[in-house]
């Protein structure tokens, strides 16, 4: 479904991804974990084609994202839903209009058909009663749910989720996680989630990958991932202050 081959990207002097390769199979729920600022969100933007890598190839189905013309890229993006970390709802539009936007702009559906789909998607995420509210009137969890509804409205084959449970209390975070699982199972959608929230990651994932220093250093099913002998993964999962992660950071600081 998605494949990244030897992808490289750097921002000014900082190498964010350095030979990053990853394959995602259909109907998988892949969770990419990594430290803050390690380039997890960058991976999602590269898959969407809103960022261009300095090297490597990115495939979504048979399309090589990095080589698509703008118009074709826009068509391909309609098969991908994206949920942003801070939801990215259009602040001037109410919930209904936010969810309806892709349908209004990209399909020929009538107003009544659009309303029906919007109601259905908002119902799925438990937000049907809030459709007249503006994003500023919603809590973080509600915004996230609306954002998920918006990402599902065009029936995508792939959903990208950027820190879906970050900043939410544990109960709401669980609700969001369960929602992601049930939606992907019901609609047979493939999902790629990036997060550093441990509980969420293990709850959602059917497979997990650890991003470290621009590369995937471990890739396994959740149970095997938990038992990884890789010292970086072990330290990341335990949250210990002793181990290669901090040592590497301090080396980097010392080199500067």
């Amino acid at each position: 479904m998605v494949e990244l081959r030897d992808v490289r990207i750097q921002f000014e002097e900082k190498k964010v991804l350095d030979g990053f390769s990853l394959k995602v199979d259909p109907q998988e729920r892949l969770v990419i974990m990594g430290q803050t600022g390690s380039g997890k969100s960058t991976i999602l933007r590269l898959i969407l084609g809103t960022l261009q890598p300095s090297g490597g190839s990115i495939f979504f189905k048979q399309f090589e994202i990095t080589k698509l013309q703008r118009r074709k890229l826009q068509q391909v993006r309609r098969h991908i839903g994206m949920v942003y970390q801070y939801s990215a709802l259009l602040s001037s539009r109410d919930v209904r209009d936010n969810v309806a936007l892709p349908l209004e702009e990209l399909t020929d559906k009538s107003r009544s058909e659009i309303d029906k789909i919007v109601d259905e998607k908002l119902d799925l995420v438990g937000m049907k009663d809030s459709k007249d509210l503006l994003p500023s009137e919603l809590s973080g969890g509600m915004r996230k749910r609306v954002s998920i509804a918006r990402s599902l409205v065009l029936e995508p084959e792939l959903i990208l989720l950027d820190e879906p449970s970050a900043g939410l209390d544990p109960v709401i975070a669980s609700v969001i996680d369960e929602l992601i699982i049930s939606l992907t199972e019901k609609s047979n959608v493939t999902s790629i989630t990036v997060t550093h929230e441990m509980d969420s990651a293990f709850r959602i994932a059917t497979r997990m990958a650890m991003l470290y220093q621009g590369k995937v250093i471990e890739e396994a099913e959740p149970e095997k991932f938990k038992e990884s002998e890789n010292p970086v993964v072990a330290q990341f999962l335990s949250g210990s202050t002793e181990g290669p992660i901090l040592e590497d950071s301090q080396d980097a600081i010392a080199k500067k």
């Binding site: 933007r45 969407l48 809103t50 118009r71 826009q74 068509q75 391909v76 993006r77 309609r78 991908i80 994206m82 942003y84 801070y86 990215a88 709802l89 259009l90 602040s91 936007l101 892709p102 209004e104 702009e105 990209l106 918006r150 065009l154």
Partner: protein, 273 residues
């Protein structure tokens, strides 16, 4: 650096500024071209490029809501212009030239220019701040990620609204200024309204009106494009939005005055009276 030759350093600085200026000018023109291309593509596919409601919302804000400001400022400028020129012309007994002077001055030059400056400050700043805020809160990226072209969806209705509304607002400006000068002419120089109108009609040529309208269209396009370009290239959060908004107003006003001068030079050289 201590051994650097001062004239060389100055030349390098000027070169750098010049290069940045040309890069910015090029970027704005590409921005207009891409917006046009994206909009046309959509039309070719038999779909409306943006919703009529969105367009009319912008025309209302840019046009209808700007009428009081443009009218009032132009009224005061018309009063001042008529008074100042009137007292000078009166010394030679030629105060009957005031109506033509104000009418031609505003129709060809001051109407579009004053309206352009006011719209750059009032609407250009609003467009930049609005799009800039959308940019920093990832709303623009979300629109792009859905497969919706942000240029035709966000930029095209704004530019088109300013492009079409500028001539209307310039006309409001001209009428307000001419009306104000008619009051001065009646009160201080004993020129009756009917005679005033005859003098205006005698002085104004079609080419003056066409010149004013063409300038207004050009200014509308420039202000809209610069404001939207600055908005969509905001970097650095709230501070970036502030910086870009200031930059947008300064650039748009400078561009309006610069293009006005350029237009006048070209027009005078190639189409002399």
């Amino acid at each position: 650096m201590a051994n650097a030759n001062p004239p060389v350093v100055v030349a390098q600085e000027i070169g750098q500024v010049g290069r940045n200026f040309l890069r910015e000018v090029g970027s704005v023109f590409w921005f207009i071209a891409h917006t046009f291309e994206e909009t046309l593509e959509r039309i070719q596919h038999g779909r409306v490029p943006f919703r009529a409601a969105s367009f009319f919302r912008h025309t209302e804000r840019a046009g209808v809501d700007s009428v009081p400001l443009v009218g009032l400022v132009s009224f005061f400028l018309g009063l001042t212009m008529a008074l100042l020129t009137g007292y000078q012309l009166q010394r030679f007994g030629t105060e009957r030239l005031i109506p033509g002077l104000v009418a031609i001055g505003f129709t060809r030059e001051l109407g579009p220019l004053i309206t352009g400056i006011m719209l750059a400050a009032r609407i250009g700043a609003a467009f930049t701040a609005e799009l800039g805020t959308m940019q920093v809160s990832e709303e623009v990226e979300a629109i792009e990620a859905m497969g919706i072209g942000p240029l035709r969806f966000l930029v095209a209705p704004r530019i088109l609204a300013l492009f079409l509304l500028m001539p209307c607002l310039s006309t409001v400006s001209n009428m307000a200024a001419i009306f104000a000068s008619s009051l001065v002419c009646k009160a201080y120089f004993s020129i009756a309204f009917v005679y005033f109108l005859d003098l205006v009609k005698d002085a104004l040529l079609i080419r003056d009106i066409v010149t004013g309208v063409l300038k207004s269209l050009l200014f509308g396009l420039l202000i809209g494009a610069i404001a939207c370009y600055r908005g969509l290239t905001v970097k650095g959060g709230a501070a970036g939005v502030g910086t870009s908004t200031t930059s947008s107003v300064v650039t748009a006003i400078t561009a309006v005055i610069g293009f006005d001068t350029l237009y006048n030079i070209v027009y005078t050289v190639f189409f002399p009276a």
